[in-house]
Amino acid sequence: MKHFMLPVRWFLIFILIFLLISCSRLPVIKPVDQAVLPDIERRCHQPFVDIPYRFIHAIEVTLPGGGAGTVVGVTVVDPAAENIHSVIMTIEGFVLFDARYEREVRVDRAVPPFNAKHFAERLMEDVRLILVAPRGRPSIAGILENGSTICRYDISQGRILDLIIHQDKSWEIGLYSDSYETIRRVNASSVMDRIPKLIKLTAYDYWDYSLLLTLINAEPVLAGAIQLQPGESPDDE
C-alpha cells in the first residue's frame, strides 16, 4: 500500500507544480480602481481600426526547418461586419491565395502549398487576431508591473487572449489555450496613428512558424467598396 501511495503523492505534487508553472505563464494583472476601468478598456481598443481598412504588408514567413520567403499580403477588414478579404501574392504579383471570411471562409484561389487543408481557416484566424478587436468586454482589465495596460478576454474553446498596450503605444497579444499554453504571440511596434509599421506573429501550435509584417500601405476603404469594384477587364488586347 505504501508502495502505491508514494507515486500518487508524487504525481499530485507534479500536477501541482505543473499547474503553478502553467499559470505563471499568464501575466499577473494588478487590479485598478473601478473608475479607471472604462479608460483602460478604451485604450485596449486602440490597436484596432473602427472602420473598413485596407492593409498592404510585406510578409516575411519563417517555417520550421529553415524555410523562409517573402510575400505581399493585401487585407481588407470590415470590423463592424467582421468580414475579412485576404490576398497573398509573390513580389512579382502572382496571386497565391485569395479568400474571404464572411461568416464562413470562401477560398477563391489557392496555389500549392496554400491549398493545404485548414490553411485558409487558420490564416483567417491569424488575420482576425492581428487586425480585429476581440469580441465583447474583457473579463479582467488592469495594469502590469511595468505599467502597461492589459485586458484579458475569455474567448471560444476556453482560450484566453491577453492584449497588452505599452506606454510607447506598441502592443502585444498573447493567445493561450485552456491549459495556459501559448498558442500565438503578436508584437506590434513603431505605431503611428494607431497603425503599426511592424507586426510579428509567432505560432506555437500545429507547427511553429512566424510572420513578420512590414507595412507598405494602410488606408480606409468605403464600406462595400470591394463589391462596387468588379475586376476590370484588360482593355488593350
Binding site: 485596407r54 498592404i56 510585406a58 516575411e60 514567413v61 529553415g66 524555410g67 523562409a68 520567403g69 517573402t70 510575400v71 505581399v72 493585401v74 481588407v76 478579404h85 490576398v87 501574392m89 509573390t90 513580389i91 512579382e92 504579383g93 502572382f94 496571386v95 497565391l96 485569395d98 484561389r109 496555389v111 500549392p112 502549398p113 513578420l212 512590414t214 507598405i216 476603404v221 467598396a225 470591394i226 469594384q229 468588379p230 475586376g231 476590370e232 477587364s233 484588360p234 488593350d236 488586347e237
Partner: protein
C-alpha cells in the same frame, strides 16, 4: 504667285514625305514572326527600368513596384525590385535564386514559389531573343503592325489555372524591343510590366547576374 506655288509644292512634298515616313513606322517591324525573329536576333543584351502594376479586385488602385531589368543572351537575367520590397532574382544557366531584404538584411529566399518564377524568367529570356513560337508552355499568336502584340496562351491545363494569357506589346519604333508584358491570371487580376530607358546591346557586367550587390 510662283513663289507661293513653289512653297505650296514644298509643303506638299514635306507632307508627303511625312506621310510616307509615318506609314513606314505604322507598318512596324513586327508584321510576322520572321521579322520579329530577325530583329530580336540582333539583341545580345538589354538593360531597362521597369514598373510593375498589380491590378486585382481587392485594390482600388494598382500596387506599383519599380525595379531594374538586365538580360544577357543566351539566358542570364537579373530582375531587381527597388520598391516597395527590395528583392533580387538572379537567373544564370538555368539556376535561379531570389534574395529579399528583410529584418535580417539580404536573405536568400528558400520558399517554394521559385519554380513558377523559373518558368517566367526562362520565358523572358526567350522573348528577349524573339523566341515566341515553338514553346513547350505557351502557344503564340501575333497581331502585327505598329505596336504589335503577341498573345501567349498556356498549352497545359495546370498552367492555365494560374495564367489565362500573356500579352506582350512590342515597341512601335524600336525593333526587337518589348514595350510591356501583361500577365493575366484571371479576369480583373493581372500584372502589367512596362519597360523604360531601354538600352540595347550595351555592356553589362557579368557579375550583375552572379552577385546580389
Amino acid at each position: 504667285m510662283e513663289f507661293m506655288t513653289t512653297a505650296s509644292r514644298a509643303k506638299k512634298g514635306v507632307f508627303l514625305i511625312g506621310v510616307l515616313f509615318s506609314c513606314t513606322i505604322m507598318l512596324g517591324w513586327a508584321d510576322n514572326w520572321e521579322d520579329i525573329r530577325r530583329e530580336s536576333a540582333k539583341i545580345k543584351s538589354v538593360s531597362a527600368h521597369f514598373s510593375q502594376e498589380k491590378h486585382i479586385q481587392i485594390l482600388t488602385r494598382p500596387l506599383v513596384s519599380k525595379g531594374l531589368f538586365y538580360f544577357q543572351a543566351p539566358d542570364s537575367v537579373r530582375w531587381e525590385y527597388t520598391s516597395p520590397v527590395k528583392s533580387v532574382l538572379l537567373m544564370r544557366k538555368g539556376d535561379i535564386r531570389r534574395y529579399t531584404v528583410g529584418s535580417k538584411g539580404l536573405v536568400e529566399d528558400k520558399g517554394g514559389s521559385l519554380e513558377s518564377m523559373q518558368i517566367v524568367l526562362q520565358e523572358i529570356s526567350r522573348w528577349s531573343t524573339g523566341q515566341f513560337t515553338a514553346n513547350e508552355h505557351f502557344s503564340a499568336s501575333l497581331k502585327g503592325g505598329r505596336g504589335a502584340k503577341i498573345i501567349l496562351t498556356p498549352r497545359e491545363k495546370g498552367l492555365s489555372s494560374m495564367i489565362l494569357r500573356i500579352v506582350i506589346t512590342l515597341s512601335p519604333d524600336r525593333p526587337g524591343v518589348i514595350k510591356s508584358v501583361k500577365i493575366i491570371e484571371s479576369e480583373g487580376n493581372y500584372t502589367l510590366f512596362e519597360f523604360a530607358d531601354v538600352q540595347i546591346n550595351g555592356k553589362i557586367s557579368e557579375s550583375l547576374f552572379r552577385e546580389v550587390i
